[in-house]
């Protein structure tokens, strides 16, 4: 079955028109997007994560993330009963190629924790940027301006979560954009799109119809390192206390 783009446009006019804007990549062509209408974040449903690494691969493909650096990665925790606060953590190549199988359940428990930029509302990384090259957008996403960044790496030092790196070729700070180029066009992030179990879900806290509101009311939800008081917005459902 061969379908040309023109035919596709006829198939579903509304969606297809939106699609054209998406591909054109010009923000002017998504005129309905209003910065003040959104407050983006993400929900990580820890018990749903199977450690397949799809999100890491999708992120690297979508955002041209250089090898050995990660905008998102997956950690596998092994917590034993005797040492609840001292987990054994691995993340081989950021979990990009999956994890070595565990043959039989020995002592303690295993679980996977996907990590990404927490898009903190009171982000320490944007606080320290000397020139205003990194910032929280009005719709709640922490971005880096690659045309303005000095590459001083102060923000890398200030992030408590290890989410930033200096891009080895561009020599500017780089990090998760929450797929800003997608979410502003009505798509979800690449990692959420590729997650087979729904362990990652894009969330718009300003959207009253977003299921997140119901979810937050009915689940034990945490953010990472709350003691850092960063206003982290990536919510983790059923997060174990040993996770750092």
């Amino acid at each position: 079955m061969k379908i040309t783009r023109r035919q596709m446009l006829i198939l579903l006019p509304a969606a297809a028109v939106a699609w054209e804007h998406v591909l054109a990549g010009t923000p002017e062509s998504s005129p309905n997007y209003k910065l003040s209408d959104h407050w983006w974040s993400m929900l990580i449903d820890v018990p749903k994560c199977i450690g397949c690494g799809n999100c890491v691969r999708a992120c690297q493909a979508e955002n041209d993330v250089p090898d050995g650096y990660f905008r998102t990665w997956v950690e596998r925790y092994h917590v034993s009963d005797e040492n609840m606060t001292n987990p054994v953590v691995i993340s081989p190549n950021g979990g990009k190629d999956g994890f070595p199988p565990v043959a039989k359940e020995d002592e303690g428990k295993y679980f996977f924790v996907p990590k990404l930029c927490n898009h903190c509302a009171d982000s320490p990384c944007t606080q320290v940027c000397p020139v205003g090259a990194t910032f929280v957008t009005p719709d709640g996403v922490v971005l880096v301006d690659p045309k303005y960044c000095l590459g001083c790496a102060y923000c890398v030092q200030a992030c408590p979560y290890g989410c930033r790196y200096i891009h080895p070729q561009k020599e500017v700070a780089d990090k998760c954009t929450l797929c800003y180029h997608r979410i502003t066009k009505g798509l979800t992030t690449a990692c959420c799109e590729a997650c087979p179990t729904g362990a990652r879900q894009l969330v718009d806290l300003k959207n009253p119809n977003d299921p997140i509101h119901e979810f937050l009311r009915t689940h034990a939800v945490q953010v990472l390192k709350p003691q850092m008081a960063t206003g982290a917005k990536v919510f983790y459902n059923e997060l174990d206390g040993s996770v750092r």
């Binding site: 993340s91 890398v156 030092q157 750092r244």
Partner: protein, 392 residues
């Protein structure tokens, strides 16, 4: 991956603040310390240190000129560094530092040196020839007014500038400490004591630097070292060092006693990866040994030669020790993972932009600049030519 132990976040393998960022607080520390030594004579009327007054000012200036260079070399986009002045981010300690630096360079150091040398500059503009004459002419800013009244005005203004300069020097280096001390994500840095420790260690290193320079240069010039001056400087070095060491120990004891969530990780690091640079170089050879040497000179009456030698050794060790302190702060703060579960390592490269050769070059550059400055603006009070000036 090489050099990684335990679990670290995958982006933490690379260590971004290299030896150049070690050099930067070291050099600014020397500036602040040298200036404070100079201010002793001017504001606190410690006349014994007069022979080093001008040398200390020129030392501060030559190090201050070099201070931003390590940062420039370190930046991924050095050409964008003016953004720091054009759009400074008010919540960033680093951005504010740019302004503090300029203020200190222009309004304090250059101004004070200019005021102090103006008489000499005008005289030299008249007596020298050729290109040098032009240089001095430019430095007079076209004013050859060295009437007693004008010089008296200079003297008074200079006193005020020094007075402003002391808090400025504190600000300059306190800010560097704050850049590290305000990072809540990093328990090795995050401490309100950090700026204070930086200021006192700056004074220690600056005083030691001027003392060693004075002794070395006087020897090279074949003149006699003014022992009253060196004894006084050594005494100040000793007392500042005691304050500095007490503060550092207070920080250490506090950390050990509190033993918060990061303690096990940091403790392990100090006993392994940082053992040599922290325990051996910084604390034993860089602090305790010079402190003992200085204490002996304070307690026992020693012959001149023995004192000179002890001062030289103590001063040199101090300079190494403070460098190690900067190293342990900057590099140490990046060796452990913020997950507190593992460590990375730092290998200094040789010829890269942030390598060993560049850092050696940047360490020697201030001495070259100082040499030029000393030729241009002789700071000596024991020369015949300068005798008239020194007598005021």
């Amino acid at each position: 991956m090489s050099g990684v132990e335990g679990y670290i976040y995958p982006n933490e393998v690379t260590l971004y603040w290299s030896v150049l960022i070690v050099l930067y607080p070291y050099i600014t520390g020397l500036v602040a310390g040298a200036f404070i030594l100079a201010s002793l004579e001017r504001v606190f009327n410690v006349s014994a240190v007069k022979p080093t007054y001008r040398l200390a000012l020129l030392t501060a200036l030559s190090f201050l000129i070099v201070a931003p260079l390590p940062l420039q070399f370190h930046l991924g986009h050095p050409e964008r560094s003016p953004e720091m002045y054009f759009t400074p981010h008010s919540t960033s300690a680093m951005a504010m530092f740019g302004y503090v630096y300029l203020w200190y360079l222009m309004a304090v150091l250059t101004f004070e040196i200019w005021l102090d040398y103006r008489h000499d500059i005008v005289k030299m503009a008249q007596s020298s020839k050729g290109l040098l004459r032009l240089v001095y002419k430019v430095m007079t800013l076209g004013s050859s007014n060295i009437s007693p009244r004008a010089l008296h005005v200079d003297e008074r203004v200079s006193w005020v500038v020094t007075l402003v300069g002391i808090p400025s020097a504190f600000l300059l280096h306190g800010y560097v400490g704050f850049i590290f001390g305000s990072i809540k994500a990093n328990p090795w840095w995050s401490s309100p004591l950090m700026p204070v420790v930086f200021i006192f260690s700056a004074m220690v290193s600056g005083i030691a630097c001027v003392m060693v320079l004075y002794m070395a240069v006087t020897r090279l010039r074949g003149k006699t070292i003014d022992m009253r001056c060196v004894d006084t400087i050594a005494m100040y070095l000793f007392y500042t060092f005691i304050i500095d060491f007490s503060l550092e120990m207070l920080d250490l004891i506090h950390r050990i006693y509190e033993a918060d969530e990061s303690f096990r990780t940091l403790d392990f690091m100090v006993h392994t990866k940082l053992f040599f640079s922290q325990i051996v170089v910084q604390i034993i050879f860089g602090t305790i040994v010079p402190l003992i040497l200085l204490a002996i000179t304070q307690v026992i009456k020693l012959p001149e030669l023995a004192r000179k030698r002890m001062y030289a050794v103590a001063g040199a060790l101090t300079l190494v020790g403070i460098f190690a302190m900067r190293w342990n702060v900057v590099i140490g703060g990046q060796l452990f993972s913020k997950s507190f579960l593992g460590y990375t390592s730092y290998k200094i490269a040789l010829v890269t932009k942030e390598g060993l050769l560049v850092s050696i070059g940047l360490t020697l550059l201030p001495l070259v600049i100082l040499w030029v400055l000393v030729k241009l603006l002789p700071p000596w009070t024991d020369d015949k030519a300068a005798a008239g000036v020194a007598a005021d």
